[in-house]
């Protein structure tokens, strides 16, 4: 089982989000990313060319994924680490728990990982009696609140600094109640202070990976807080959990991808920390874990290879598509109801948890195309959302009113003479009905529109009918 999803209730979730004044206030922040990305792109004239090579790197890797995974695995073993394959979330959780138990681990620190969210790792660890502590500030905050991330790179973006202050006062009761937490830096330093003890006590550190390098067996994470470094260096064991499509052939390839990643994500030229880890501590290393494990998760991804959703596997999880999405901007990430929000989530969620559960998401898009416009690896997100709609339609999963409505309309639209007549009659009738104001404030069958907006009334006879009358055409 994956994390529990409420994606099928997207509409209700969206309604809740739209009527939550606190959330609406907090969401403004994600729009800052838009300007920052634009500025970063403007500073780098070759950005679009870099996107092309980023795309090519990922496409090449996906075309030979088995080879690169084998090469990666070989290198990890050579460097003294171990690789474990997990078919699904259940297997991945079990592998991690077994590893922790075999090392007698009681406490785990965690760097930010969306795969951990995807497999619901924290709950599983807690259930197994192992304490799991998130060390990324955003993840730490939402863990305190018992929430899931609302953004793939900024998990607590749905919260304001005020919300975080309240949460910290509630959670850190042993700290002086009169301390000031008014500044974001104060929040950060308090989190650091609390987490320091956890870092030192942890038996195992778990991180995700932005990239896995086949040529060296290295995993790379990028962070802005440096928490990932402490997570993977201090404990006796480091477990990397990553999905299979994170592998790229060479360090040089990863470097290329890193150049588009941070710029697309936050508008930074590079993230503050880019951390490479290869195997466990070697004899002469001053520090580092004594054991190094990689859990490679499939969870539906290999089934996407070679199909119409393969392009989605190019995703490098930068978050640009959601930052620029009018729907995400309006409702935030939780409304999407599972781990991955925004346009990338709208494509990925039905792939990973099924179209019956996730099918609403690819429908809830205006197809404005801005996601594709900014995606660093040029994933045709709207096209893929349309593919999901096609699958739903074929399987008759689309809502009945939509199917019948389309059928009725298609009957006329494929009979031009009849259509022209009907359209002309309808337009004239509606002009009469809307007379006076020139618009409707309510129309039957159009409540979704007229509840919120007026609708202009037709001017009168249709263009085609007027044109014919004017030119005497008989065609």
């Amino acid at each position: 089982m994956n994390e529990v999803a409420t994606s099928a209730h997207f509409k209700e979730n969206a309604h809740e989000a739209l009527t939550d004044a606190r959330l609406q206030g907090a969401l403004g922040f994600s729009r800052n990313f838009v300007g920052r990305r634009a500025a970063a792109v403007a500073r780098l004239p070759e950005f679009d060319a870099l996107r092309d090579s980023a795309r090519a790197i990922k496409d090449h890797t996906l075309a030979h994924l088995d080879l690169y995974l084998e090469a990666y695995e070989r290198k990890v073993r050579e460097s003294g680490g171990e690789v474990h394959y997990a078919q699904d979330a259940e297997e991945a959780r079990q592998i991690v728990i077994d590893l922790c138990r075999s090392m007698g681990a009681m406490s785990v620190t965690k760097g930010k990982s969306m795969i951990s969210e995807e497999i619901g790792l924290n709950h599983a660890l807690e259930a197994a009696g192992i304490e799991a502590v998130e060390t990324d500030l955003g993840e730490y905050i939402i863990q305190l609140r018992g929430e899931t991330p609302s953004h793939i790179i900024a998990p607590a973006i749905h919260l304001t600094a005020k919300d975080v202050e309240q949460e910290f006062r509630k959670a850190h009761r042993d700290l002086p109640p009169d301390r000031s937490l008014a500044e974001p830096e104060q929040l950060l330093s308090e989190a650091r202070q609390v987490l320091r003890a956890k870092f030192l006590a942890a038996d195992v550190g778990i991180t995700g990976a932005n990239f896995l390098i086949a040529e060296t067996g290295t995993s790379i994470i990028v962070t802005n807080e440096g928490n990932g470094d402490l997570t993977q260096i201090l404990p006796q064991a480091h477990i990397v959990i990553a999905s299979i499509e994170k592998v790229v052939p060479t360090l040089e390839d990863a470097a290329q991808l890193l150049r588009v990643l941070a710029r697309s994500a936050t508008g930074q030229d590079a993230s503050v920390y880019t951390t490479l880890s290869t195997g466990p501590r070697r004899p002469h290393d001053p520090d580092g874990p004594r054991a190094y494990h990689v859990v490679l998760l499939d969870n539906g991804r290999s089934a996407m290879l070679g199909g119409e959703f393969e392009d989605m596997l190019r995703c490098i999880r930068c978050g640009a598509c959601m930052n620029h999405c009018p729907v995400y901007q309006a409702v935030g990430g939780h409304a999407y109801g599972w781990v991955y929000p925004g346009p990338m989530g709208a494509v990925l969620t039905p792939s990973l948890i099924g179209v019956a559960e996730g099918g609403q998401l690819p429908n809830a898009s205006t197809f404005c195309g801005r996601c594709e416009e900014v995606c660093p690896v040029r994933i045709p997100l709207p096209n893929m959302m349309r593919h999901w709609r096609e699958r739903e339609f074929e399987r008759r999963l689309s809502p009945a009113p939509l199917r019948y409505g389309l059928g009725f309309w298609a009957f006329f639209a494929s009979r031009p003479a009849l259509y022209r007549l009907g359209a002309d009659l309808a337009a004239r009738a509606m002009r009469l009905a809307g007379r006076g104001k020139g618009r409707f404030s309510w129309l039957p069958f159009a409540g979704g529109w007229t509840r919120y907006r007026d609708l202009a009334a037709p001017e009168g006879a249709t263009f085609q009918s007027q044109w014919r009358a004017r030119s005497g055409a008989v065609r």
Partner: protein, 268 residues
Amino acid sequence: MNATAASEGPTRTSQPRVGLFVTCLVDIIRPSVGFAAVKLLEDAGCKVIVPSQTCCGQPAYNSGDRATAKTLALQAIEAFEDCDYVVAPSGSCGGMLVKHYPDLFAGEPDLAERAERFAEKSHELVSFLVDVLGVQKVAARYDGTVAYHDSCAGLRELGVKTQPRRLLAGVEGLTLVELDQAETCCGFGGLFAAKYGELSNAIVARKADDIRGAKADTVLAGDLGCLLNMVGKLQREGSAVKARHVAEILAGMADGPAIGESQKGPRQ
């Protein structure tokens, strides 16, 4: 308020035959946009014809009903067979003809080739005037401050961005102001606006704020769908900002009621 478009493009030996793909929204709700398009095209030296037509098929295509989309696409391809160009006063329908028809028939070589040829001769109106016909200036007049909203499909699928602004800059009496977020979707999205009414409303509410903030008296766009959405919201909020299709302004045919305005209402 008459307009004469001066084509400074290459002189042609014969008049190009342009089929007007009027679009179903213009056909039914605002035929005057169709007549404005005809005027712009004729002034630029085209012979305009209007083959019998219905819809480009986009509502079906975007609802996952590929079979209906194909039927309607073939119908359109056949109807415009004998035109040198197909021109639509819409970036959205234009995008359907140019970008999506070829996709619809991918894997069916003969049809794909026909769709490809059709796509090559199809254009959105304003970019056709500027990029293909070389129109630099239209001699129209409009006394007002206008903001131009970049409709998504025109902008991202067809690269319509500078062309309308260039022609608007030459309209006498007109002041063009930029929206803060001109490239952000208005929330229309075709059936999306009705299927996800509340969400669509939240998006268009922000667009309406942007329009009011720009202090324009008229908002323009190249797509009637977006215009209906934006002005529907502005009117519901009691705003006096008017909405017009950019072709109405460029053709000097903006003396009738603006979109959704009383047909007996004040005339400019």
